[in-house]
């Protein structure tokens, strides 16, 4: 019974993750460049929810702290190496794009338009790859 309840929580989080990625794909098709920027936020949160569900299922405890989640993911065996670092990178990018009208690698340098577009596309691909990796990992629990 406990197992069923846990599985339900994990299923719900993955459903949320997939919904967030779908939102990201819809935003990516927008002609408005400012709307397209929001792809990164949806992509990050999609990957975050799937990562959180994975940790919950494997360790049987919830880890919602954004800062700790990357490290927890990198410490899990049987995941593609660097998955936690990729999650952290998405998080950093999400902050850059959500807080600044001129996002850049630091406060003194801004990305150019073509780099921004490339980063939007790359972020969605990374989030999709991470979620697929987490789904695969859940099937090989242990």
């Amino acid at each position: 019974m406990l197992e069923t309840a846990l599985a339900g929580i994990v299923k719900d989080r993955f459903e949320m993750a997939r919904g967030l990625l779908e939102a990201a794909r819809i935003l990516a098709k927008s002609k408005n460049s400012m709307v397209r920027r929001s792809v990164i936020s949806r992509a990050y949160y999609g990957a975050y929810q799937a990562a959180r569900a994975t940790i919950f299922w494997i360790h049987r405890r919830d880890e919602g702290d954004h800062e700790k989640l990357g490290k927890e993911i990198d410490s899990l065996p049987k995941l593609p190496p660097g998955s936690g670092t990729e999650l952290k990178e998405l998080r950093t990018r999400r902050n850059e794009f959500d807080y600044s009208p001129h996002p850049g690698p630091n406060e003194r340098t801004a990305y150019d338009a073509s780099t921004i577009e490339a980063m939007i596309e790359e972020s969605l691909e990374t989030a999709e790859k991470l979620v697929r990796g987490f789904e695969k990992r859940l099937k090989q629990r242990g």
Partner: protein
Amino acid sequence: MSRIIGMSAEDVREFIYARAAARPELRIITVSVTSYPGEYAATVWLGQDPTPDMRRYAYELEAELAKLGVSCNILVKGDREGKFGGVDTLRTKKGPFSYRYLRADPAGDEDVVYFFSLYKGQKTYRYRLSLSGTLASMLRLRNQFDEDKILEVYRDQIRGRIEREGLKPEDIQTIMLDSRHRHLFGLK
């Protein structure tokens, strides 16, 4: 966890820089720290491709800062990951190079520090350029401080260095312009 009161972004940057600089295997270009609500985000930029161990080192730094009550998401990245500046082309007598640049934080007497990564095929050539504090002050005092002009001079310096001395892919080439170079900015 919330940010510690009294530890500014600059304090965090200095903390990370000091720790990372103590590791000789890291070729640090610069450390950037950005402040967000409730946390900091930092990137340690390296003039090399980071190994998995180097990337994991970020977790050690995060843990050290967490003990001080500072929430900071840290990434270790190489300049070939290419997410700074825009891509442009520098034409030289040795052929064209594509390049990106990053405005870096100054150290010591440096001012207006830029880090350039030039790419040709699989090779990367790295240059760190700055003005001395004196030259930067002279430009500001005489209303000649124009960042676009400074970038133009920096690009000319790199071009000159490549054409005179050739290419050294393994090193970070450092060029600091001082008051002897004031003529480059139209000062007598």
